[in-house]
């Protein structure tokens, strides 16, 4: 993935963060979406270790030793931040108060199944907060390269890895496309500049619904 393709993907995902939302950004690509969110957009960032109102990451010498996000980064408060315990933090997630989460993925299926926490025999650290974020955020976006490092599709007809949650994903943002999980199946919704529909189909392991009208680009 070129850095410009990555930036386009992040920027496209950022555009779905709307005024007034409470949003949780997963570790890795999702957190990098932040640099594309307008500075004046009123949004509350949630971190599952107990923050509503996550502010910018600080250098170690400026860090508060007691203030990290769920990924371990030393973050800062903003005016209006609150701190709370882990039960209350997941109460926000499960009770429908988390408007959007953006997550990474090992695999995502055409029906919205997500696998992003375990590779049996290789990577079994435990799920942390991933399961509840995926199952309970009002809207779940996945940000991922369209294919893995070997060029194999990460969007599949069915996940092969243990699932994080079933049919939880609403939208997939990749370096090649935006795909929506719909009642009819996985739908190609937008396409990256310079990428053809055939390129996307070839790089996708799930059946894709291709609309008749021309696709918007990003």
């Amino acid at each position: 993935m070129s850095s410009s393709a990555k930036d386009r993907m992040l920027k496209r995902a950022a555009a779905d963060i709307k005024a007034g939302m409470t949003v949780n950004l997963g570790i890795g690509l999702p957190t990098q979406v932040l640099k594309h969110v307008p500075e004046n957009l009123p949004v509350c960032l949630h971190s599952e270790n107990g923050i509503a109102g996550v502010g910018p990451v600080l250098a170690n010498e400026k860090a508060d030793r007691n203030l990290i996000d769920a990924g371990g980064a030393y973050v800062s408060p903003v005016p209006g931040t609150s701190y709370f315990d882990s039960a209350l933090s997941f109460a926000i997630v499960r009770s429908g108060r988390l408007d959007l989460t953006l997550l990474g993925a090992f695999e995502v299926a055409g029906n919205g199944d997500l696998a992003n926490w375990m590779i049996p025999g290789k990577f079994t650290p435990g799920a942390g907060g991933a399961i509840e974020l995926a199952q309970k955020a009002r809207r779940v976006g996945v940000i991922t390269t369209h294919t893995d490092k070997k060029g194999n599709p990460k969007i599949l007809s069915a996940c092969t890895l243990p699932l994080t949650a079933r049919t939880c994903v609403d939208r997939i943002y990749t370096d090649m496309a935006v795909c929506d999980v719909t009642a009819d199946g996985l739908c190609l919704t937008e396409i990256a500049e310079g990428v053809s529909v055939d390129d996307v189909i070839a790089a996708t392991g799930a059946r894709l619904i291709i609309p008749d009208q021309p696709l918007p680009t990003f």
Partner: protein, 230 residues
Amino acid sequence: MPMPDKSRSIEEAIAQIPDGSSIMLGGFGVPGTPFCLIQELVRQGQGGLTLIKNDANETGMGVDWLLENGQVAKLITSHIGLNSNAVSMMNAGEIEVEFAPQGILAERIRVAGAGVMGFVTDIGLGTPMAEGKQKVTIDGKEGIVETALRADFALLHADRSDPFGNLCFSATARNFNPLMGMAATRTIAEAEAIVPLGGITPDDVNLPGPFVDDVVALPELMEVYGVVER
């Protein structure tokens, strides 16, 4: 990115409530009861309401205004002994009253706010309260399945709020307020003071803003908020 602003007028906030709604009301006795929000609900006159509140206040205040005005179909509560009007209406079949032990009422609301479906308890086992309720066995012990209690709206009274809806309560005015704020689809809070964003220490927030939808600033407090002369 600034935190969202949820300030509303009281008319606008209460106008969101349709007839037939279920509404949680904070408060244990006078402290924490959102009298101004209730007063506006009386003025707007929505009917067929299901109210969820620890108690029915006393005759002539709060919940009693809604009862007197004929807006209440059902009351879910733990104790109505201080409101003889509520007791009479219950006995006359003019309102339906469902009782729960106080801590069970609180926990049913708490687990709704936690986004889970119910909890298992031995409270009330072997008494009529357990009748008709689903039972499960955990580690060889029988328990009652108590279901999560959600509502369409929660009306809260806070001591302070910021525009994002971070709430602080004063002393025993906290009671059911933060629990109900978590358990409703839409949460409306009246606050004695609205402080600027950053005016509340993040460690001292009693109910975090993500649970709150509308913040209403109170004018000078009505007498009903004061010490009750007996």
